[in-house]
């Protein structure tokens, strides 16, 4: 187990290093400068600014400086906002994103599981068709359509919840609901097919042949085995949804990370782009790792000892 952890950690560091290097390189290829009104600057003004931000040095040196700072845990300062560290900017912005993301994820997972499980247990009945339809709609209709519908009906027509803006807890509900639609659809489809597969397994017949009642068979033998693969899918989904989604945050006026990320790309705020990319990647790698360890705990057939190639 220890050997496995060390191995995984080493891989994670290497992966992150590659991601950082690639992002850094790609950013250099972007046309333009981080300065607003760059075209109005004179040669000498530009030279002064470049010198101030260290952009006059060769790319290789900039890269080495960045890596050097990064190793010490320093993500640098924003180009856009005077004197603000990337760290503090991420800190300010991640809260709202994580909150609506988490709410959407939990709500969506529960509803998705219930929908998918019922659907599998009532395979090829009206309930199954209805829930498959819901899942397909949820997958194929973009989330901003649901966002707009929620705003119009619940926010404007019924007036139950605020249409947008980030003021109190009530403001978090509609964006969370809008986010949960994709989660519901994904989870429901996934658990349904897993359940159907497990229901056809011989060991389920064995369980029935033991005289267990149907709910005992479903709970102890079917759902547990069907849930294991769901964990693999849920991890990455959680990262992508909790680190902020541009569209939903824009529509509901949520001051989240997704919005900040887009903005920083538009104004070429190099250090912020780097910082947020790094955060996404690190979280992703971490979650995939957690999922792998969790999988080993849930499924006795998977053995993490001995540093296997898996």
């Amino acid at each position: 187990m220890k050997r496995y952890l060390i191995q995984r950690f080493a891989y994670a560091v290497i992966t992150l290093f590659i991601i950082v290097s690639a992002t850094f390189l790609l950013m250099q290829l972007l046309p333009g400068t981080p300065y607003s009104n760059a075209e109005k600057l004179t040669e000498s003004q530009r030279a002064i600014l470049d010198a101030k931000y260290g952009l006059d040095k060769p790319v290789a040196l900039q890269y080495l400086t960045y890596i050097g700072n990064l190793v010490q845990g320093d993500l640098g300062y924003s180009f856009q906002y005077q004197g603000r560290t990337v760290m503090s900017m991420i800190g300010d912005r991640i809260g709202p994103s994580a909150l609506i993301g988490l709410q959407g994820l939990v709500f969506g997972t529960i509803i998705g599981l219930v929908l998918g499980i019922i659907s599998a247990l009532r395979h090829n009945t009206a309930i199954d068709y209805v829930s498959v339809t819901i899942a397909v709609l949820g997958m194929s209709i973009p989330s901003f359509v649901f966002a707009a519908l929620l705003q119009y009906y619940i926010g404007v027509k019924l007036g139950w919840l605020p249409v947008a803006l980030w003021e109190n807890y009530q403001s978090t509900i509609l964006p969370s609901l809008a986010l949960s639609v994709t989660v519901i659809a994904t989870v429901a489809r996934f658990i349904r097919s897993e359940m159907l597969e497990v229901l056809g397994q011989d060991y389920v017949t064995t369980a029935r042949a033991k005289g267990l009642n149907e709910s005992g068979v479903i709970w102890k033998h079917v759902i547990r085995n069907a849930l294991i693969p769901v964990v693999t899918m849920l991890g990455p989904l959680a990262v992508s949804i909790m680190t902020g989604t541009l569209v939903i945050e824009k529509i509901f006026g949520v001051p989240g990370l997704g919005e900040q990320f887009t903005l920083s790309i538009l104004v070429l705020d190099y250090s912020v782009i780097m910082g947020i990319t790094l955060l996404y990647s690190a979280l992703f790698i971490f979650v995939v790792f957690v999922v792998d360890v969790l999988y080993g705990l849930l499924d006795p057939r998977i053995d993490l000892k001995g540093g296997s190639k898996a």
Binding site: T205, T206, A209, K210, L212, G216, N225, P300, R301
Partner: protein, 359 residues
């Protein structure tokens, strides 16, 4: 009440498919006494497994129909039982061993727990008692270091060991009837012999009646007291082991026996296969289902399905050759000879059995 523990009368099972109703079992009859072993043999698709699963009512509800027949366990018709009553019977009075030990155990549940489940369900044991009993069962089926193995998972066992566990699960609550659906098909030959020996030993100890489903005549010779031969959803011939092996009366049974290698015959002698393949159950006509492949067909065979003819007190055949209106010269010699030797077959068999039919 007679002394039959299990009786299947005129059982019909059919499946609903997109192309309409397909009959899989068409009027099966057999019965089983306490401690007896009945082998049901037949090719794939002959309805053996469907018959076995319908006794336990383990077939999928949505597309299975049992339009006719009864399955009497201790005189009571299981088909009239409620869901709850059937669950009480499953695993405690009648249990089942499945074909593939690699897939018939839950991969994420400890072996001990899988055995204990049935025990706490039927025998109302406490956890501790159930665990103790589970350990005894593992010892009984010959798994060494039973106490520790209770906490192992199925993937830590070999195929043969897993089948022992499956047998332990099936026998944990002392069932009166054990249905073994091709219990050794997925195992290699040496393990097969071990498992069969184990089943026979446990049967003697517990006085369990066994319904053994198989297509392996070697297994039949080793295990069975009586044999039912199935073809296209019907039992075409039924009799004691000796009757079936030494005086088969149905051309299909005869064909099966001829296609089995015989250690006593010279090696150069080729096996005689049955030409053709079993009929599609969806397109069965009114005649005898074996007519198309039978070397002794008569006109009547294609139009009418024969009824049972009792050859002896224990042997019954479904074949027009047995009908008294069939001219004697049309009945092939092997079958005529079988009929004559029917009485002395028992003695003959005893002598032959000493030589042993190899497993």
């Amino acid at each position: 009440m007679n002394n039959h523990i299990l009786e299947v009368n005129n059982l019909h099972v059919s499946f609903k498919t997109r192309n309409g109703e397909v009959p899989a079992v068409r009027g099966v009859n057999f019965s089983l006494k306490k401690g007896e072993t009945l082998a049901i043999v037949g090719e794939s698709g002959s309805g053996k497994s469907v018959t076995a699963k319908s006794i336990m009512q383990l077939l999928p509800k949505q597309n299975t129909m049992i339009p006719e027949g009864e399955i009497r366990y201790e005189g009571k018709d299981l088909l009239k039982f409620s869901k709850k009553e059937i669950q009480n019977i499953r695993g405690s009075d009648i249990s089942m061993v499945f074909q593939d030990p690699m897939t018939s155990l839950n991969p994420t549940m400890k072996i001990g727990k899988q055995i204990m489940e049935g025990l706490s369900r039927h025998m109302k044991l406490t956890k501790k008692q159930a665990r103790e009993r589970a350990k005894e069962m593992l010892e009984l089926v010959g798994i060494p270091n039973a106490e520790a193995r209770l906490d192992a998972y199925p993937h830590q066992f070999s195929g043969g060991m897993r089948q022992r566990v499956v047998i332990a699960i099936a026998l944990a609550c002392n069932p009166k009837v054990l249905i073994a659906d091709e219990p050794t098909t997925a195992l290699d030959v040496t393990i097969q012999a071990q498992i069969l020996r184990l089943m026979r030993g446990l049967q003697e100890k517990m006085d369990t009646a066994i319904v053994l489903i198989t297509h392996d005549l070697g297994v039949v010779a080793n295990m069975a007291d009586r044999v039912a031969v199935m073809y296209a959803g019907e039992v075409v011939e039924q009799g004691t082991l000796d009757e079936i092996f030494y005086s088969p009366q149905h051309p299909y049974t005869l064909g099966l026996l001829r296609s089995m290698p015989n250690l006593d015959a010279p090696r150069t002698e080729p096996l005689i296969p049955i030409p053709g393949s079993p009929p599609d159950p969806a397109t069965l006509g009114t005649g005898c289902p074996f007519a198309a492949r039978c070397p002794y067909t008569m006109k009547v065979c294609h139009d009418f399905n024969p009824d049972y003819t009792a050859v002896s007190g224990t042997q019954a055949v479904r074949c027009w050759l047995q009908d008294e209106r069939t001219p004697e010269e049309h009945v092939p010699e092997v079958i005529r000879k079988g009929r004559q030797t029917s009485e002395i077959a028992a003695d003959q068999a005893a002598i032959d059995a000493a030589g042993g039919v190899p497993v």
